[in-house]
């Protein structure tokens, strides 16, 4: 009940904030469209809802994290950046900001967000790409479900884990470093955990995308993966391990571009994106963990879970640790 009230209040607050500026909406409409480059997936319904609500056509291009900087910088330097709005992990947007790709815009729709979500130079955090332990609830006994991350090092999980390649998958690398800095008491304990995990011989895949399938089919039992799959892959028998420690993830950020072909549509889009309407869709339909107060993905117990952002890591750190993990996990 309390949750519901909060949700209602929040949505009332932000939708009023969204509808505030009529002249912006008019100008945006005149521009006709807003182009959105994003690494987040499955957001087509939000694009449609945006078009329906504003009369401005929302166009979405999915660009994977690995190609994001290369693509945007190439276009930007050639004066052909088509994106009005960009969305990517925070470190990516930071990099773009340093190159002058982004414009400083603080959306009125972000007013209700916590202070730490407002970053320098118009970058707004709106979600956390949260990582958790996803298991097959038909094949794993309730008693066996890990209660702490360390439980993954238990030999009973040998040959039963799937995870993204810790030598190359940036989000997984960041997550492991996040564990070191936020969860484990000492680096030694953390290294023991890594060794135990490596000894369980997890199966490596290229990214998070292929992690749930082996768990669903029973090829593996548990995945270091994203809880959002519990929503998107329903009715697959997936559940998340409620570990005592917090969940960690890379912050998802959004910003408008400095030479946006449709600057007003860009603002309107960010306003809409950060509104409770869009964030509710993101949480409800895609299972994303959003930073809009009071909105949670409809995953059991997620509203009470602690979800922390991992600090920003530089590429040098990620590459250095990638090499380190390559040794620990013996990827040849």
């Amino acid at each position: 009940m309390k949750k519901f009230l909060l949700l209602l209040m929040a949505s009332l607050l932000s939708s009023s904030a969204f509808a505030q500026d009529a002249s912006l909406a008019e100008q945006a409409k005149a521009e006709g469209r807003a182009t959105f480059y994003a690494n987040i997936t499955a957001i087509e319904p939000i694009m449609e809802a945006f078009s329906a609500a504003t009369g401005v056509k929302g166009e979405y291009t999915r660009i994977s994290t690995a190609k994001f900087v290369a693509t945007v910088l190439t276009e930007f330097e050639a004066g052909k950046l088509m994106a009005d709005v960009v969305q990517a992990p925070l470190p990516v947007l930071e990099m773009l900001r340093e190159r002058g790709v982004l414009a400083d815009y603080s959306s009125p729709a972000a007013a209700g967000y916590e202070e730490w979500t407002r970053k320098q130079g118009g970058i707004q955090l709106f979600g956390i790409e949260y990582v958790g332990l996803i298991y097959n609830k038909e094949l794993v006994q309730a008693a066996d479900v890990p209660k702490r991350y360390e439980d993954l090092a238990d030999p009973k999980w040998k040959d039963k884990i799937v995870m993204a390649n810790p030598a190359s998958h940036a989000t997984t690398i960041s997550w492991l470093i996040g564990l070191k800095e936020n969860v484990f008491a000492s680096e030694d304990e953390w290294r023991d955990f890594l060794k135990g995990l490596a000894a369980n011989n997890p199966m490596f895949v290229a990214s998070f995308g292929p992690t749930p399938a082996p768990v669903e089919s029973g090829e593996k039992l548990i995945a270091i993966s994203m809880p959002k799959y519990i929503i998107t892959k329903a009715p697959a028998p997936l559940d998340w391990a409620r570990v005592e420690q917090p969940l960690l993830g890379t912050p998802r950020a959004i910003a408008i571009t400095s030479k946006a072909p449709h600057p007003n549509a860009a603002r309107l889009f960010v306003d809409y994106w950060l509104s409770s309407e869009a964030m509710t869709m993101l949480a409800r339909d895609v299972g994303e963990y959003v930073l809009h107060p009071g909105i949670f993905p409809p995953i059991e117990d997620m509203d009470t879970a602690r979800v922390l952002p991992i600090r920003e890591l530089t590429d040098e750190e990620i590459q250095k640790w990638g090499e380190e993990f390559q040794k620990i996990f013996k990827v040849s």
Binding site: V69, A70, A78, M82, A167, A170, I173, P214, G218, S332
Partner: protein, 561 residues
Amino acid sequence: MFKTRSVLTYSLILVVGFLTICPVAMLFFGSFSKGLGAFGVFTLDKYVRAYTDPALARIIVNTAIFVFGSASVATFLALFLAYLNNRTDIPGKFMFKVISIIPMMIPHVLFSVSWVLLLNPTNGLLNLIFKQIPLLQDFSLNIYSLWGMILVEGLLDLPIAYLIIAPAMASFDVALEESSRVSGASTWRTLFRVTLPVLRPAILAAFILGIVRSLASFAVPSVIGMPGRVQVLATHIYQMISTGFAPDYGKAAAVGMSVLATSVTLIFLYRYLTSESEKFVTISSRGYRPTVVELKKARYPLFAVVALLSVILIVLPVLVLFYTSLVPYSMVPSARAFSMISWKHWADVLSDPVSLLSLKNSVFLGVVGASLGVSLSLLVAYVIVKVRTKAAGILDSLSFLSFSFPGIVIGVGFMWFFVRTPLYATIWALLIGYIATYLPYGIRPLASAFVQVHSHLEESSQVCGAGTFTTLRRIVIPLLVPGLVSGWILMATMFVRELTLSVVLSRPGTEVLAVQILRFAEDGLWGRLSALGIIMIFISTTLVILATLVGARFKPVEGGG
């Protein structure tokens, strides 16, 4: 004629060179530049860092085993099938056409995933079946291994090998074999001492194309190699560009350069080894009809082998795909799984406007791209085979340039290039990129078809008063119809499922099927992915049938007057 020919040669070198050198040149500059773009301050640093990586030696060994293994598998199977189809009385010859084409249409990622579902060590379907068989209880196959990669990549490269070897086998002058038989050699001895050596150019072409293809392949190393922790150059490059948020494509290109160098060397080697090829397999107007080897007792066992191959190559993967598209999530087949079957994924895909747009774009690219691509290939193949000057050799090597660059990097090269042109972010950029990259798919079948057209047939047309282009139109092209059809089919099916370039170059409005499929894959939505995959196979099949029908229309004798 001589003027026309050299004008043609040089203008083609210009066109093909422009298409293929530009992206590679961008990557070349990028690999020597500081920073993340194509142009920057000169540095050797990227090469130093790329080539002093201690893991590289192991990776190169793996890569060598992988590419030679898969090229051998593909070539051997192609030879086997082509021989059975063209030279023996094996029943069910229609199967060969199907085997040779269908795997072209299955997206490589899906094909690899199907094999994982069949042969993973935990609950791979085939392994589960082995467990039920008394003597095989402890027997299980692990697809996540080097041999698994070789097998799957070999099967994926089989169609192109077959399409190169089969026509040569079909137009073989049987007198060569007969004289060997008369000299007292057995069927087997004749096969190894006469048939195979005479077919050497085609076999080598298939083998080298197989190597070049598997060097650039990413799907198999990523889906099968990564879980098996077998790293090859393609996954090594992937690791380079995926670790961190600002990947350095220049450094990846530095590694790519040695792959390119290897491919180009192989192609030169191939040209050298087959420079005498014209005295081999040729047909003149008299038309040879190869004798048919009677298989006798081996007829049905061999038929069974072919049937098994087609099950493995086509039926299993397509069935697995179809099954995956119907169950709500990844499930091992069971009574419960079948009770949950629904058309939900299909409905989702067919009601998704982006999927429908991507369908339309891919069909456009397939049809228009393949038609333009084959037209260009026709001219290039003509110059390569019939003009045969040094310039023609350059043209041949040029056509392989962007084809042999590792797929994950070449897309960025094209992006660096197209962003400097007004074509950027249009469907034409995709079209040109496709044609430039997959030119060898059009050129190879046409070149082998050209080799088989005796030069007298053209010369007599010229003496009869026809110019170069009339001769092409009235004599050469009609004789090349089979080559044109297979070139068109190769290109069209390739374009319909093209991923590596599309994923970099597609923008709102220019989405294509494979990119949509990748999007589903990244979200782990295997059901929708399979549904769209089957739609894609269906589209390719339709295109292939249409092409074959059109080809058949042109084949019969023209009406009088």
